[in-house]
Symmetry: D2
Subunit: 336 residues, 4 copies
Amino acid sequence: MSIEVVRLDPERYAYAFGGQEPLLTVRPGTVVELSTEDCFGGAVRTVDDLPSRVCTFPYLNPVTGPIAVEGAEPGDAVAVHFVDIRPARDWAVSTTFPHFGALTATHTTAMLHDALPERVWLYDVDVDRGVCRFHARSSEFEVELPLDPMHGTVGVAPAAGEVLMSISPGAHGGNMDTPELRAGTTAYFPVNVPGALISLGDGHCRQGEGEVCGTAVEAAMSTVVVVDLVKGAAPAWPRLENDDHLMSTGSARPLEDAFRISQHDLVGWTAQLLGLDVLDAYQLVSQAGLAPAGNVVDTNYTMVAKLPKLLLGNATAYDGIHARLRETASRYLAER
Amino acid sequence: MSIEVVRLDPERYAYAFGGQEPLLTVRPGTVVELSTEDCFGGAVRTVDDLPSRVCTFPYLNPVTGPIAVEGAEPGDAVAVHFVDIRPARDWAVSTTFPHFGALTATHTTAMLHDALPERVWLYDVDVDRGVCRFHARSSEFEVELPLDPMHGTVGVAPAAGEVLMSISPGAHGGNMDTPELRAGTTAYFPVNVPGALISLGDGHCRQGEGEVCGTAVEAAMSTVVVVDLVKGAAPAWPRLENDDHLMSTGSARPLEDAFRISQHDLVGWTAQLLGLDVLDAYQLVSQAGLAPAGNVVDTNYTMVAKLPKLLLGNATAYDGIHARLRETASRYLAER
Amino acid sequence: MSIEVVRLDPERYAYAFGGQEPLLTVRPGTVVELSTEDCFGGAVRTVDDLPSRVCTFPYLNPVTGPIAVEGAEPGDAVAVHFVDIRPARDWAVSTTFPHFGALTATHTTAMLHDALPERVWLYDVDVDRGVCRFHARSSEFEVELPLDPMHGTVGVAPAAGEVLMSISPGAHGGNMDTPELRAGTTAYFPVNVPGALISLGDGHCRQGEGEVCGTAVEAAMSTVVVVDLVKGAAPAWPRLENDDHLMSTGSARPLEDAFRISQHDLVGWTAQLLGLDVLDAYQLVSQAGLAPAGNVVDTNYTMVAKLPKLLLGNATAYDGIHARLRETASRYLAER
Amino acid sequence: MSIEVVRLDPERYAYAFGGQEPLLTVRPGTVVELSTEDCFGGAVRTVDDLPSRVCTFPYLNPVTGPIAVEGAEPGDAVAVHFVDIRPARDWAVSTTFPHFGALTATHTTAMLHDALPERVWLYDVDVDRGVCRFHARSSEFEVELPLDPMHGTVGVAPAAGEVLMSISPGAHGGNMDTPELRAGTTAYFPVNVPGALISLGDGHCRQGEGEVCGTAVEAAMSTVVVVDLVKGAAPAWPRLENDDHLMSTGSARPLEDAFRISQHDLVGWTAQLLGLDVLDAYQLVSQAGLAPAGNVVDTNYTMVAKLPKLLLGNATAYDGIHARLRETASRYLAER
């Protein structure tokens, strides 16, 4: 069986989830090759390009899409499997931004302090060697960090007709900013509108857990995904799966509510997959789970709850779709 | 140089940090072999031993200690290096407990729900094979989990003359409940009173991040630590170090404040070790750091901020004391 | 000068802020007589009409509008002065709702508890006597409470093209659910789109601070407002003014961030009106301010920060517009 | 029946709740005349006395006591009725303090900002005219504020043998910093140790709700209380009563947990007094209650939940003890 491959290089980007006509409609199982711009729309290119000067609110965090999935109806799940995420340039950028970040007063954690200084860091990106290079701004210090490309933002049109800025994470996905969204991961979203209307963007060469300063190593990306559909299987919140772990996400404030959502979902998922009652699943997740921060800076904070798939025995999520998508990805990569 | 080794098998346990006379006074560099009881004082031994019946508040979470360190004065740091943590029995126990845990109404997240059911799980522990076995209570499901022994509780007498229940984590350490407190880790605490007065307990055969249901795989432990002193180097909050990572901890509510404390401390530590200004360190930690949950159930929640030591080049924390303690541990284990 | 009076009885309601064409366009200073439906769309009429059965998500919390204001441009403030709020029926209703409220597990404060029971309370409303009567459901207890009619929801189209469910409060206003939104109060909102696009609904015969169970004494209302415009005076967050107090609002989670936003805004407002530096204003607000909860149940929580106008001397907010609107209201009521 | 009156002018103050021998033991019903020092120990007397220079941590917030109550046993409630609270000097003081307050980075809401400036404000206090005068520091602005004297700190020895700094509020009371603790109010505390061990201090000439900048109009006080005992009636958290309202308090973080605790307690209290089931009481409190902030700056935040006593009909809390204590107070004041 041949793989259907389509390409999406948008002429214009979207800045929201919801309220948009699809740029593209694909059948379930289609490979989509696409390009994404960085969260600054490519406008921050030197250390002197302060984002507050070169970017115009609300035109931040452009996303590529939406992509409609044929047959996707409310109540279904769409799967987005990341095949490849490749920085498109030999540089990337990170910044502080006034009143944004985890260790600064913000517009909601409102305080009387002046904003922290706005500063830009340019990273050299070497895809072949798999590294990006950090240059300190106030001293000679430099260090190479491994590339670990990912997308901060991926999701679908929200429920209830809402139109949400692309910088917000929520039950529809969006700007979750977790490093788990790397190649090899499948993301599952609830379908809220016909076609689901998937968009993605905000590529990161790498990102620490929590995205503490508010931005990662931001880069335009050449990305390949496979898009698929699971009828009648809408999760309450975005779920992720890679070869080793099942993952539930929660995006909310305060951070303990993001944690609660993600753990609550993982407990329910575990109970369903292993035929456990909810208290037994609660116990198992409590001893075997991992709980890294995604972001602690966006309009909602994101936590991830992870369970090793080793515990599942023969049980598979969504009837083994992740393995099938991995296979599609392998065939695509072999043929490319 | 020979290693000084002392043994501590307490006749009675403490239930608080602060307000106690030391059971033992040791010189810096001393190896202490000690035994700890589980968080239920060993009273929960069958699935019918509901903790709310067999345990008496506030006699929960017994700790072994305090151990005074000669020469420790306010302003110093004491180091507790975990050499070995070995479950003392062939069983361990975990439970839900009324109004305690992350996915239940509690006395502070007060709600009108009845308590979730109280349930006990007994685990088989096989130290030789390195596993503990989970038995579901409402079905036949069983699964082995790897042993990863750790101490939920370790700390020193608090500042300001406070006496705090051993179930509370804070700037003095205490019940931080992070899986990072395993053998091979060095923990650094600020000294608040002469002698520092170190206590530890709450051994876990393993624990998921967040300790979601409120208890881990709880076990009495045979534990070996090396205790040491770094003059004038008191951290603001407990810090951890293993062979791969520097770690800062924060314990507070809401969870984002625990996150902020830990990241703020790690940024400052990184700045100091690498000679960076604080914004450059903020940037580096943002891209390279990890941020797992410790606990999201105790009176304060605990987050851990981790930085790979690979980034440090030749810089070492506290003049390389972790490596020296590792060496002491190796010699001790070789001679034992 | 005669007062312009228009009437708005919508054929259909809106369920969001943003993304709607105006039903009506008015000149600044116009009196608008309008009708609003209750938050259940009038579908809960007996104690057996459980909202989860008779209401369809997301068709909750209907609002009347939008009303466009001529000349309103981004950067301006629109003022909505409440002249009269009168319950339209001789009954009103309140309910618990599964996973909604301050003392229950919710979808974000996710827990393993079953939902609390869903229950409906019908209140008798006597506008002439100014009371509504509470009937306990599980005993014979009854008591009269004073009518204190208000609107839970009032606001404008959000910034950045967002479309937000009418049940969410935020910088655009929306479902703030504070009892301060009673007759005699002027509310100021930032204009985000041409015409501002004001909507309102969610009438309450009365409401406790915090709206603890999630709903107030919900009623359809006959309401009269005066709509006005202050060029170039957009506040960051909705502000309120009555004869006695200036009020700033903040809507966010956790609740301390809602508090911070409201206090931060009030400090800045006070500094500006009295010519104080920000620390002097911080001090004055700290000693003279009030800080009641609005709601602690909605998607964002709302706090109100109040300053007695007695402290202001001759200073007036927005050039005395509140007094002028009061005058317009008096003339309207005299002529009606 | 004559009133027993004793006097307590401590030679030294305490800085903690718990861990102290009583200075005084009184019979239930005794009037205690006492003096308290301000939260700075009287060391801040001019605008140049910056607290970080003239005060020594942890010797802040001195309290007068403890006072033991004869016959008080764990499980009982002690009542502290405030008869009179009178500023002892003709000046009072308020300050910002580095990393303390609601609109500043703190040690737990840790951020990279430098501390806000530390500033002292001196108030003129005129007890006869019932006013205190605010003087801006950076301009000529002055204004008189009404005196509304209260105690920020009052409580008993904590449970579980804990010793807690007097600056912390909790289930034992402590530094709740609510303006409701004024003359005419009765406060009820759970007894945790024999004698209860009541202490109080931190007098405020007045305080805004939330105590936003971290300190109120701080003053030494001449205070008169009546101390009483209600056998077997320990509340879970401190409760207050005045002539008009029943009040429950909650002290926790995040602020919504303080809110939840206070509302949960008030719902239970209302259910018990009116013979309602918990859902009916939840409903009644939701419509009739008030919810002002106490403090949003201390180690725990405090919220107050208030219910008008008008709703209670003939029901009285604690068998009418508040009315009896008011009577005692009247007789005392008449005879003084």
